[in-house]
Structures are given as C-alpha cells and as structure tokens.
C-alpha cells in the first residue's frame, strides 16, 4: 500500500471514529485550548502508530489504546493535567458543556474527581468494553479490573450523590 493510500485509509478511519477522541479529551481536559492540544497530540500519535495497526483488533479498540496512552502520558508543567480539588468552572472553561445533557454534566464533574488511571478504566466501562479489553488496555488482570471497577463506581456514585 503506498503512502497516499495509507493516508486516505487513516483519514477515513479517523473521521469515522472521531467521537472517541472527543470523549477522551472531554474526560482528561477542562479548557477548550487544552482539549485542542490533546486532540492534536492524539491524532499525531495515532498517525505515528498507524503502521503498527494490524487489523487483529478492531480499529476502535486500537484507537482507544493509543489515545488513552497519549492522554495519560502527555504531561505538562502547568496546571493542565494536574489534579485539583476544585470542581471545574463550567461557565468559564467548558463553553461546550452547555450543549450536553444534565446527566453528562454531572457525570463529567464526578469523573473529574478521579485519578488518571481511574478515569481510563471508567471511560472504557462507559464505552461498554469487556473486562478483558480493559485489562489488556491498562495492563492489569481481569480480576483486578473487576475489583477496581467496584471501587471506582462506588466513588463515582458517592460524588454524584453529593452533586445532586
């Protein structure tokens, strides 16, 4: 396959699965500019890793893996990816949030309280990935996934209860 053909195939796949990247940026970033930065970085990493995609797994599964790896390992010295106790300021930092439903906004607030890896696990659960897929993506055992999901869900439910 020549380069232009490969690029065309890549672009088509990205266009078809763009919402995955939007969701990951939504979970890991608060500001619009940070979301754009992460979005670009994910596309770049996907393009760089594309030669290693071998159709053994679904494109979306492979995409989740690379995109989550990028979101978690992309670190900055400023406040961008640091944890904060404060709830995100929706009006100032998430102009696009107003377009989302009430449940999603509450869910976002609750997820923003989680640690980076916890965010990845709950995101994969929300996307209805199997325990095996979650275990493979993160690099932990299936048993560990089930134990952690129980804990994360309890944490999430507790935060949502407080937010309601």
């Amino acid at each position: 396959m020549d380069k232009s053909q490969r690029e065309k195939e890549f672009l088509d796949s990205i266009k078809a699965h763009q919402n995955i990247i939007h969701k990951i940026c939504f979970v890991y970033c608060r500001r619009k500019s940070d979301k754009e930065d992460l979005y670009q970085e994910i596309i770049l990493q996907l393009w760089k890793s594309y030669p290693s995609f071998n159709n053994r797994s679904a494109f979306s599964t492979w995409m989740y893996r690379v995109a989550l790896n990028t979101a978690i390992t992309m670190t900055k010295k400023n406040w961008l990816f640091t944890e904060t106790d404060k709830l995100p300021d929706i009006s100032a930092e998430n102009e696009n949030m107003m377009e989302l439903s009430e449940e999603i906004r509450i869910l976002f607030k609750a997820i923003s309280q989680l640690e980076k890896v916890e965010k990845a696990i709950i995101l994969l659960w929300l996307e209805e990935k199997s325990y095996e897929e979650i275990a493979e993506t993160i690099g932990i055992t299936v048993k560990n996934v089930s134990v952690r999901l129980v804990r994360i869900k309890a944490k999430l439910a507790d935060t949502i209860k407080k937010l309601q």
């Binding site: 763009q18 969701k23 970085e41 790896n69 439903s101």
Partner: protein, 239 residues
Amino acid sequence: MKDIDLETYKSAWKDERGFDHRVLSETEIKKVLNKKSKSITSLFRLGLTIDIALKLILGISFIGIIWLFFNDPGVIVLGIVSIVMIVSLLIFQIKTYKKIPQEKGHPESLRNLLESKINFYRLRYFKSVYIVAFSNPLIFISGMLYYFYFKYGEIRPLQIDDYLVFSAACIIGFAFGAFVQIKQYNFQIRQLEVCLTEIDENTINELTLKKLNKQRLRVFVIFILVLVLGLLLLTLILS
C-alpha cells in the same frame, strides 16, 4: 437520599450526541498531521538533536584551536583530550537517541508504555543530561582559548586566582546546565511514575523507584568527579 444507578449515566453517555458536535474535515486532520508533537519524548528528542549539533561544532572549534596553537604542545594536548572527550560523548548521545522509546509501535498496555518510558528516562536520560551540561564548560574553555589567541596571540601566563575563577566558571556552567535540564523534566517524569504507581496500586514500585533514585545519585557523583579531574588536568596542562 436515593441510591445512584450508574447504568442510567452509562445510557446517557452512550446516547449523548454532544460529543459529535465538532467533526474535523479531512483537510483539518491533514493539517494536524503536519504539526509537531508536544510529548515529552519529542521534546527530549529535539533537545538531544540540538546537543549533538552543538558538540559537533565544539569538536570543529577544538580542531581550529589545535591549528591556531600548533606551536604550543600544552594546548595541542588539551585540544586532543577535548576532541576525544567530545567524540565519546557524541557516541553516547547518538546511542541514547536511538534508544528513545519509539512512538511508532505503542506497547500493548498502558502499564508497559509507562514502564518503558520511566526506565528510559531514569536510567539513560539522567546520564544524557549531564553530558548535555558538559557542553557549557567546553564552550567556555574553547571561547577562552580563542579570546587569548585573537587578543594576545598566545596563552598568557595565568595565576592561581585565574585558575580558580576559570574553574568556578566551568563548574557553574556545568551545574547550571544540569540543574535546568533536570528541573525541566523531573516534574513530568514524576507524573508518569505516579500513574505507574496508581496502576500497581502503590505496591511493587516503591523498591524500583528507590533503586532508580540511588542510581541517579551515583551518576551525579561520577560526573562531578570527572569534571573536577578534568579541571585539574586543564590546570596542569596550562601551567
């Protein structure tokens, strides 16, 4: 207070159309593909490329010094020692460049990716930082020798206090260079370590991190010793 049913939120997540509001066109995605990566790996690769180029220029500059001071055996020895050192450091930097974790094939799991990145930065990168910092004293020494040549046409006899001032400048140049580099990356590497510790649930990495920190300290002491010995050698050659 009623119990929270997370399945309701899961369904809302699945049905939400707000995530699809901004779909980039093919042209916009193509534009993104031409941009530079902002990842720590890319920044490190750029820093290393600049240092390799700088060391090449320094090597050429020391060849120039040997040519200019052809009748001064002390400076010739100093030039040869510096060139040998620059070539060795260049070899190390090129090897480090080749060992930078590749972004082409993302490892199967997040845990493996974090582990390979942390191991690379903790074991290889910290040595490389000191090698980058070595450029500063070398720039100072070559600059000083060019200054002497163009101002006086020879190396002026130096007093003990001159040696102290020059040595202090070399040490400060080295220490400052290393400090800035280490500060620049330490924060990011620590964040990667926090993620790995989170995956391993604070259990297995405590010992590994302690071991890696011990190795870092050993590397630092070795480089300081090399620098001090180098300065003593320089003093002996020029006096």
